[in-house]
Structure formats: structure tokens, C-alpha cells
């Protein structure tokens, strides 16, 4: 059992002016086309990120040198309305293969009309990331922060 208290899930919502099928397709098939490239974990620059379109599929990035780094797995694949994937990136920004340390992301696609879709995202079970020893070590030992901050600084710089 976990000794870490539950962390409230993160939620986000966006409404887009496209049919629900297209919203789902862009989110999944074209994942690599919109995911902000600075948020990646591989040593090499990220070339693209891929979400395999099936239950049990891999979610991973491909580096410009051809290397691959896993991010998680597809738990539920229900086009065009629902998607659940695991996020297994720990506090050291490395893939943690232990399913016990996997946080989950659930995405719902709801048609508001023929050409409008609301996308609701929830990132939950964050305490499982915290249970991972690597995150604890990173925070208490300072090891996790430099890489996190490097990412953060890059993202902030690209903002404006």
C-alpha cells in the first residue's frame, strides 16, 4: 500500500471546432505533430512521438538519431470518444517500467455538434509517480531538479 497521500488529479478542457472523429484522430494519429517537442526524455532531440492505435499499444518518442524512449502504454482505445494511457515518466525524467508507478491519463472526446468537440483530460494517480524511489531521490538529493529545470527553462524561453 502506498504511504503517499493522494494527489488531486490534474484536469484540462479544450473546445475545438472540428468533428469528434477528427479531434480524436489528431490527438492520437497525429500526436507527434502537436506535442511540444521540448517536453521529451530521450538524450537525442525528439523527432516525433507515437501513440500506437490499439489497447496495449506503446506510447513513445523517437529521437533524431533513431533511438526510442517509452513514455507509457495504451490502456483503453475507444475511438472516437475515449482514450486512456499510462504516463510512466518519473521525477528523473526516465521511463519507469513498473506498472505500480504508472500514473494515468484519461481523455474524453464529446461532440457538442457536428463541427465542435470538447476534449476533457484528466491526469490522475500522480501519487504513484511520487512513490517511485527515483522521484524521491531526485527531490531530496537535488538530482531531479536540474533536468526538470532545464526542460522548464527551455519551455519558458520558447513561450515568447
Amino acid at each position: 500500500m502506498s504511504s503517499t497521500p493522494t494527489i488531486p488529479p490534474l484536469t484540462g478542457t479544450i473546445t475545438v471546432d472540428v468533428p469528434v472523429e477528427r479531434a480524436f484522430r489528431v490527438f492520437t494519429d497525429a500526436f507527434g505533430s502537436w506535442w511540444p517537442g521540448e517536453y521529451h526524455i530521450g538524450q537525442a532531440e525528439m523527432a516525433t512521438a507515437i501513440l500506437e492505435p490499439r489497447q496495449g499499444g506503446r506510447w513513445y518518442e523517437q529521437g533524431t538519431d533513431g533511438s526510442e524512449c517509452d513514455w507509457g502504454r495504451v490502456l483503453a482505445w475507444e475511438p472516437p470518444h475515449r482514450l486512456v494511457v499510462t504516463w510512466q515518466i518519473n521525477g528523473q525524467w526516465q521511463y519507469d517500467p513498473d506498472p505500480g508507478h504508472a500514473s494515468e491519463i484519461e481523455v474524453h472526446f464529446t461532440a457538442d455538434g457536428p463541427d465542435q468537440t470538447t476534449v476533457e483530460l484528466e491526469h490522475r494517480r500522480l501519487e504513484r509517480l511520487v512513490d517511485g524511489q527515483a522521484l524521491r531521490d531526485g527531490i531530496t538529493g537535488g538530482g531531479g531538479w536540474p533536468s526538470l529545470l532545464e526542460l522548464f527553462a527551455k519551455a519558458a524561453t520558447n513561450q515568447t
Binding site: 484536469t11 489528431v26 526538470l148 522548464f152 519551455a155
Partner: protein, 109 residues
């Protein structure tokens, strides 16, 4: 298109607050030390620090006559805020991508 419809976040959505968060992660600091590194006044720094403290990202401690600010060492809130930031940015980018005239194989007009 409604890319403003992204909910959540807040604490690190402000660029100055992000800069303070980043500086504190490098090194615990006083208000004066932070103000020296940023193009804002000490009182503006203090206001941002209050928001970060209320949000649980930052803690402070008196050291003699100085008050030192640092990231909350439990790390949980900081990680959560950071992931929140990533998702806000990612969803906004996703919203833009749905409007892009791409998908040659899926042209429906």
C-alpha cells in the same frame, strides 16, 4: 477555435512567477536577491512569492534578519504544477493542430 478554453493551471502560468520558481529551484534566495535578477521591484517579487507560497510551491524560513525562500521540499506540489503547465501548453497546441489544413489522405472536401 477556442484555444483559450484550457482550464487548470494558474500558479506557473505567469512568466514572472515561472522565473521566480526557476531561480528558487537553483538556489534558495531572499526577496532582494530575486529582485536583483529580475526586471521587477521587490514588492512585485513579494507579491508573486505570496501566491507561490499560498499555492504550496514555496516555503520560507527566517534566518537572522533575513527571510529565505525555497521550493517546497516535499516536491509534490511542484511536480503537479509542472505537469499542469505541460498539459496546458500541450492542449493549446493540440487545439491549433485540429485547425491545421493537413491530412492529405483525409480530405473530406
Amino acid at each position: 477555435m477556442n484555444t483559450n478554453g484550457v482550464d487548470g493551471l494558474g500558479l506557473l502560468g505567469d512568466p514572472t512567477r515561472r522565473a521566480i520558481f526557476e531561480l528558487l529551484a537553483r538556489r534558495p534566495s531572499t526577496v532582494g536577491e530575486l529582485a536583483q535578477q529580475l526586471p521587477i521591484t521587490r514588492s512585485a517579487v513579494s507579491q508573486h512569492l505570496r501566491v507561490l507560497k499560498d499555492g504550496g510551491l514555496v516555503v520560507s524560513q527566517a534566518q537572522g534578519t533575513r527571510r529565505i525562500y525555497r521550493l517546497n521540499p516535499d516536491g509534490v506540489t511542484a511536480l503537479r504544477a509542472y505537469l499542469d503547465r505541460i498539459w496546458e501548453e500541450a492542449l493549446t497546441a493540440f487545439g491549433k493542430a485540429t485547425q491545421a489544413p493537413d491530412d492529405p489522405e483525409q480530405e473530406d472536401q
